[in-house]
Amino acid sequence: MPDAAAWLERIRALTLPHPVRVLNVCGGHERTIGMAGLRGVLPDNVVLIPGPGCPVCICPEEDILSAIQLALVPGVIFVAFGDMLRVPANVAKSEIRSLVEARAQGADVRPIASPADAVAIARANPNRQVAFFVAGFETTAAPVAAMLHEGLPDNLSLLLSARRTWPAVALLLNSEAAGFEGLIAPGHVATIMGPEEWRFVVDRHGIPTAIAGFTAGSILAALYSVLRQIAEKRPFLDNCYSAFVRPAGNRRAQDCLADQFDDIDAAWRGIGTIPASGFALKPHWAGHDARLLFPNHLEGVRRRVGDMPPGCDCARVVMGRISPVECRLYGKACTPRTPVGPCMVSDEGACRIWWANGQRPDTADAARQ
């Protein structure tokens, strides 16, 4: 197996017929690209575009607000993945805008790293209601489905806001201009759902696709595959993460997902509703559905000004339509210290990753992205 440097040499040796834009749909991929400084070492005619791969970024604004209100219900322990805590809802600055601010106001908000933590907290606090904010992609939905399969403590409920990855890519491909000529598909999602989920990109749209793992070497291998497919005009679905991604994926996990969840049309923050892109609890879980258990938690009058704060271009960043530095708030009104939109919050958000790796709006000589 060639190493990252060898894949890079192969990429440089390719002759491409035209400049190529390659989309990735995984925050983990984008992080690796930034950490390894890949954009600075690739040929100029190859552009890597971060796509809809950050679960925090696409979590609907109304769900964030629901989460904040629910966390403020007296007696409730609210658990969420750490990334969700700082995402701002689009409300006036005088109001409680994030779970972190809710915690500062006395709400019992606890960051967790896995569904097992939520169960453990519920078991340790049998006299309190524990609500678990489940935002994420298939990689989160599958372990949560497994948790449901095992059975839930009576006092644990879910605020479910999980999404499938491929429908967002389908939305891009079905739009007037997809904006990319090659796709690097997410390795962990494919491990669960199987590589076949991405076949439509090749079969229906003729776009070269390769599934990648999370090292720089694996991403460069997938990139080489995509570029070579373009050079040879021979698109196919390549699997560059074959140690983990097996044909048909993890059947047990898929069965679990199908047993516990229904597919629903679901909102993506700033993007709109994407058909069959969300998971909903099966009706028999109604007793653990936080949306049903706490129906009145959305209290008070709220002047909504839209999904995203004024001027925030996160939606176009998420869909790969513009790069982070092209947002006019990037690095000015919006920094990791004072994030305006969700892409600047999560470690998987493109803006946060670009910022962390040194991309600044005012410096041409910054380390190139």
């Binding site: 600075g40 790293a113 999370f214 962390a356 040194g358 910054a366 380390a367």
Partner: protein, 329 residues
């Protein structure tokens, strides 16, 4: 009585007995006095102050006590001084087990003896249950520096090399694992140690410009301090930066960058490029110095810290924004 009560901080009998039975027994009698005289000595008197909070108080490779000694000693050592005396103030939470306090005091005594420093004065306060993190330690250190040793960032110039005496990120990662946060476990040890042998060896090398211990904020933060103070660009080389595999793996998993994690037994030296290889040989020959490496250089250009990646790409290492690991040192 096996636990600290508010009475142990009231100045009365309980406190006198605690000082006698724990602190004076471990550190020597002079800590009972309110003030102590130090013998006259040659050179420049160097003073440092530091506070220590860590969760958990005991972790693989050390505890808050050894950390307090090493942290204080290292601040003196990297200035070119020889550490001699320390004072320690203990802020103890009501309910703290006296056995545990004694264990930590013993650890302090061991670390101090290893470093050749004497604990000469101390203080004890007790805060009510729930108002402290078990134990906080405030320390001061006094050392002597020869008059002809003058280190500082002003001496740093373009072309100078940066060296580190071992792998980075061990302490931050070990403390994280010791909290058993995120269900993670591992056998990684903190690098908490005195850097005095390394500092003394470096001071003996002509062309040494500056030293600093990369504690909070890690190696990237030291590089940023150098860059901002000198106005030069600092280039770090990922190919030579020593990071242990478990540290790298855990950081990958949790999204941390080891270059920003605290070290407690590491020193960064900036040295004349003509003498960098000499210093590397000397450091590698010291106990626990086998992981020493030349990790970068000072360059002309905008004051930034840039990491040259293994693939030849560049990544800017900015000043730390959020705290990646609260309360680790």
């Amino acid at each position: 009585m096996s636990r600290i009560t508010l009475a142990h901080g009231n100045g009365g009998r309980f406190m006198r007995e605690l000082v006698r039975d724990v602190f004076a027994r471990r550190f020597g009698g002079s800590v009972i006095d309110d003030a102590v005289g130090l013998p006259p000595a040659d050179g420049i008197v160097v003073v440092t102050a530091d506070g220590f909070i860590v969760d958990p108080l005991e972790f693989p490779g050390g505890d808050i006590g050894s950390l307090a000694v090493h942290g204080t000693v290292n601040d003196l050592a990297v200035s070119g001084a020889v550490p001699r005396w320390m004072t320690l103030s203990f802020i103890i939470e009501e309910g703290f087990k006296i056995d545990r306090l004694d264990r930590i005091a013993a650890s302090i005594a061991r670390a101090a003896a290893d470093c050749g420093v004497t604990i000469v004065a101390g203080d004890t306060k007790v805060v009510p249950n729930g108002q402290g993190g078990g134990l906080y330690i405030a320390a001061s250190g006094i050392g002597m520096r020869p008059v002809d040793v003058a280190l500082g960032m002003k001496a740093i110039t373009v072309g100078d090399c940066l060296l580190v005496n071992g792998p980075v990120g061990d302490h931050g990662t070990a403390v994280l694992l010791a909290r058993q946060a995120f269900g993670l476990r591992g056998d990684l040890r903190s690098d908490s140690a005195s850097v005095l042998p390394f500092a003394r060896a470096a001071v003996a090398i002509p062309g040494l410009r500056f030293m600093r211990d990369p504690t909070r904020g890690g190696i990237a933060t030291v590089a940023n301090e150098i860059s901002q103070e000198t106005g030069f660009r600092v280039l770090l080389d990922e190919r030579t930066l020593p990071i242990r595999e478990p540290v790298r793996g855990i950081c990958d998993m949790l999204g941390y960058d080891p270059l920003y994690l605290a070290c407690e037994g590491r020193v960064v030296a900036v040295v004349d490029p003509a003498r960098a290889a000499d210093l590397l040989v000397v450091w590698r020959g010291l106990p626990n110095g086998e992981g020493a490496a030349i990790i970068g250089r000072v360059e002309a250009g905008r004051p930034r810290v840039v990491l040259r990646t293994v693939l030849g790409g560049e990544r800017l290492l900015d000043e730390l924004e959020d705290d990646p690991l609260p309360r680790i040192c």
